[in-house]
Symmetry: C2
Subunit: 246 residues, 2 copies
DNA sequence: TGTTTTGAGTGGACTAGACCACCGCCGAGA
DNA sequence: TCTCGGCGGTGGTCTAGTCCACTCAAAACA
């Protein structure tokens, strides 16, 4: 159901944002150059100043423009292709990078939560969870090993079959209307143990990037807690940081 | 100069934000509970709705409240103590965590940029840079080894003496009025080479978390490019991710 | 009794103004 | 020629409203 989601009329400030971005990318406004003042953009786009400013604010946050109080808005000199690391799953992220991802489910089951998942999902240890262990491949080479935990009562009919065909995030969004909005990640480097070394086809003790992620929905309930072990020779994580307080 | 910056009258939406946050922290509004509607807050704070909404938007971004269209604003059940990783330097970050940081300058010099710093700082390879190598300690135990590059012509009188007393970020902010607003980080795991292993007092080949960070100022010029090698047994990095597009 | 409709209340988007602080330029006066 | 004050343009903040879509419960209806 809801495979063809209703696409609402694009918001005005989004249209302005996209239009300005396009003008900058096509060099109608060049690096270092001043763009029309907010009051002029108001007239150009037939929008109010607050709406124009909402579009400009987004461009500013993304580093596309910068502002000088009392002077104007300027196109940034370098068009940095850096993004906030976002909430896409493994499959989508790899596809976005033009790679060919696949997954192999090594384990799928329902069981009592136990301590680690319970703490991270903020549920009782006696509640049931799904445990999903997957090997992530890129061009059929092992890239990462992943253990995911999800509260079972929230997603009653999660099916192994679906998971082999579709991405977990897609299933959650489409079948359970889950809106994932935030996540918390902890990254560390470890030397791998025997078990994971064997799965990833590396030597025991090789450096591995461990990412522990808890994903939260709009109502702040935990959707998923997942630990990923990335082969250090094939993966690195990029982050875009902004000043605190905004 | 400018040691006692002029503190402008607090902005109204900031005052509302702080007031609401205080009410939530003091349990005047409890978890899961609906807070007054935007139109009521308008009256309570004698502010316009857009201003109230700006305060609410910040609370929402920080996960303190969540919204239900057509229903109201609600206090989040769990007050998650998770923050966007911010732009503080090593010293401040460790202090914030209640640790006792110190630094040892292993090298301080001015030289031609060379390829890696030039690319990351977006300057010519023939331009001069500072190279600063520091050992970072916590409770006098080696924690990280760090190589920082800064464009020399932008910070003409950077001094080794100052650096031993003050944090680099503080010097840049106070003496050069640099406003650092964004950074880009790449994290990976490696096994250390002999040189760094010796400095960090670990065995060659031990897993180490490598963080490469480029910091940008308000005008999008690169302020600093720094590579840090963190001992994996003593350090992990935490990140707070939000949905793409905001 | 069970179902449907309606409407009050909510957040979401947007408007058309207001006033302020700040920047940079230009012209008057020294 | 040089300095300095004024002033127009700019972004920063805020107001007081509009119209919309959505939710939910009470009222009207079958």
């Amino acid at each position: 159901m809801n495979n063809q989601p209703f696409q609402p009329q694009k918001l005005l400030h989004v249209k302005i944002y996209e239009s300005l971005l396009e003008k900058i990318h096509s060099n109608q406004y060049n690096g270092g150059e001043k763009i029309p003042s907010e009051r002029d953009l108001e007239k150009i786009y037939e929008a109010s100043r607050e709406t124009v400013r909402r579009a400009l604010e987004r461009l500013r946050l993304e580093g596309v423009i910068f502002k000088k109080t009392g002077v104007g808005n300027f196109v940034s000199e370098k068009k940095l292709d850096i993004h906030s690391r976002n909430l896409t799953g493994f499959t989508d992220e790899m596809k976005r990078r033009g790679l060919n991802p696949s997954s192999k489910i090594l384990f799928f089951g329902r069981e009592k939560a136990g301590e680690l998942p319970a703490v991270n999902l903020d549920i009782s240890e006696t509640e049931e969870i799904y445990r999903i262990e997957r090997l992530r491949l890129v061009d059929n080479e092992p890239m990462a090993f992943e253990i995911a935990y999800l509260p079972a009562n929230k997603y009653p009919d999660l099916d192994k079959q679906d998971l082999e065909k579709l991405s977990l995030y897609k299933i959650l969004a489409e079948n359970y209307a889950v809106k994932m909005v935030r996540a918390f990640e902890v990254l560390e480097a470890i030397g791998v143990d025997d078990k994971i070394a064997e799965i990833l086809l590396v030597k025991t003790g090789s450096p591995v990037l461990v990412v522990r992620r808890t994903v939260f929905a709009e109502d702040n309930s935990a959707v998923e807690f997942v630990t990923s072990y990335y082969r250090a020779d094939r993966y690195r994580a990029t982050f875009y940081l902004t000043k605190n307080g905004l």
